[in-house]
Amino acid sequence: MEGAVLKVSRLRPASWSIKKSRFWAVATVAILLIFALTACVGAPTEPNWAELSVLDGNLFVAFSHNLVMLEPNDGSFVNLYNEQGNLRTADNGDPLTWNVSVSGQNMRFYTDPLVTSENTLLALSYDRKLFEIEIDAARLQDSAGRDIAGHTVANAVVDGTRMYVPLTEKDLIAYDVETLDVLWRFETERGVWASPLLVDGILYVASMDHSLYAVNAETGALIWERALEGALAATPTLYNDHLYVGSFARRIYQISLDGEVVQNYATNEWVWSSPVIVDDTLYTADLGGWVYALDLSDGQMRELWKRQAATRAIRPSPLVTQDHVVVGSRDHFVYWLDRATGETVVRHEVPAEILAELLLLEPSETINIAEPLVIVATQARDNLVFAFPADGNSQPSWKFPR
């Protein structure tokens, strides 16, 4: 301080306004402090994660402001062809690819597209918009989109002429697929962050208000409501006339189709993923990195094994193959666990957190791949999708972007 005063009195002209220079010195420090503190609290992040699905034998990826279709054998963009089957090219000769982007309008996609007609996709944006896309041309029919009632982070469900859209803030809305008229609106206390399960004309809706609802799909009328402990963020799974759903109360519930809680199983942390049931065994994971296998053969949930496979949360549902249970974690690893014991067989590291549902692609008439692949989406746009061999015994077959 004294040296600064000395410098001021020696170097500055007598006419210099010391008060003014001091004011601006203080202001500069304050502005720098504002920027430093802004950096300390971190930049905003995506509100949700990518969605992977299969469309016409191709891999469909929805993430942030992009909708892309990829060749499953190498992760390249699917090319567009004209009616004669010729490759379509841009003016500069580059092939046109299936890549829909609405970045100019700050829209974001986190849900599977809905196929409503032979050549039309419906894509729901997080930012309250619905877009109709021509599949053949990868083109938005209306770049402005049509308004829907709220944000959406979970897949909508289509049943004939009706589309059921879960809203992030609250409620489930039924729209007419053709006209987008609102048919009915089912009210919840909090958001619906999971797709409803549609079975025999009944929608089973898991809500963040801690309740599981059974709703008439045609009228939107409540059939029953079961209040559980903890928020419900994942779609329930139906197996042998029972619903299985995980909650933030560190429980997995077994519920009869008339809404009665039959049994619950305690987990170590919040359960976000939908249970996966294969061969009378329920597999699920929690946000503490634990993976569980429960035997359902006698109608009860009986623990077979549980393992803390990951060091951080496992958000997506486990993927069950012939020999393995595959899970992806926020700790940047994909784990292959032995189905019988839960022991980690192999793991692979990816550059970012894994929050999206894993996808298993198997060779078929429509899916042109040489071997089964486990598709993993991360939170990094420049390392968004990885395709691993289903047995996990080697490095990724491809990644996107390439």
Binding site: R22, F23, A30, V153, G230, L287, L355
Partner: protein, 284 residues
């Protein structure tokens, strides 16, 4: 940092439960708790401020003695402040101390009130008491505003509800300004009539700080603005209560240590008021 965040998230959730799911009340009570915890710092700062006021006669004496030699005057003033353990920027200290707290509180509010799935993921595992899981998600709406988002100024109209964001931001700036004015002593001019540099610096901060906090209120969540307002009001009340107490006069005990408000400052010596006359300088 995780330990502090987890504590803040747990405490906010606990208060939310106690106050019947009222998040604003939870934030307000949380703020009271934070101010109580930082009260010793506040007391120490105010003691320094009052000591500076009590030192004014000594400062004026220096100004008389070194009139015309600003460099020497500044050196002697700073020496005096050091001997008496006084920080001339002390009025800014409570506001600066709160910075790391509101950084942690900003994150804690967003985590506790998670409005999106990715925010909710960051909340998992942070509740130190497992039974609080059943409270999640917390209600993030208040008077039509989302507590996790910055005030929305795009829908301003004539209704009271649409003006609430503007009122909120205005209250942040106003309460910050009032707190600063209450806590800082009035600047006393030097013998040559010019303002004391250190005090003038503090007064400059009194202009900058309200502007800075208003900027924060525009950028950060509504919940954090509520914290700012409640914290400033408590600060104003604290200083008014302390100001009503008659300050003890500065004492100079026989040991030579300086006593400020009944507490000795060890390791310092009192300069004799009878200083050698300055060397004669050539007339210009």
């Amino acid at each position: 940092m995780d330990i502090i965040l987890n504590l803040f998230v747990t405490l906010l959730t606990f208060l939310y439960r106690v106050f019947a799911n009222d998040m604003v009340l939870a934030i307000a009570v949380f703020t009271v708790i934070v101010r109580l915890v930082t009260y010793p710092l506040t007391i120490s700062q105010q003691r320094s401020t009052r000591a500076m006021q009590q030192l004014q006669p000594e400062i004026k004496r220096l100004q008389e003695k070194y009139k015309g030699d600003r460099e020497k005057l500044s050196q002697e003033q700073m020496q005096l402040y050091r001997e008496y353990g006084i920080n001339p920027l002390g009025g800014c200290l409570p506001l600066l101390i709160q910075f790391p707290i509101f950084i942690a509180l900003y994150s804690a509010i967003n985590m506790a009130l998670a409005a999106t799935p990715t925010q909710m993921l960051d909340t998992a595992g942070r509740l130190l008491i497992p039974g609080f899981d059943n409270v999640i998600p917390l209600n993030n709406r208040w008077l039509g505003m989302d507590l996790t988002l910055p005030p929305d100024l795009t829908a301003i109209g004539t209704s009271i509800e649409s003006l609430l964001p503007v009122i909120l931001i205005g209250l942040v700036g106003l309460t910050t300004y009032i707190q600063f004015k209450v806590t800082m002593p009035k600047p006393q001019p030097n013998a040559d009539g010019k303002p004391d540099q250190a005090q003038a610096m503090s007064q400059s901060m009194g202009t900058i700080m309200p502007i800075m906090y208003t900027f924060f209120a525009l950028q950060f969540s509504v919940g954090l603005s509520i914290y700012f307002i409640v914290s400033n009001i408590i600060g104003i009340l604290q200083y008014r209560l302390m100001a009503n107490r008659t300050p003890e006069p500065l004492k100079v005990p026989a040991s030579g240590a300086v006593v400020v408000d009944g507490k000795a400052k060890s390791g310092t010596s009192v300069k004799s008021s009878a200083k050698p006359a300055p060397k004669a300088t050539k007339a210009k």
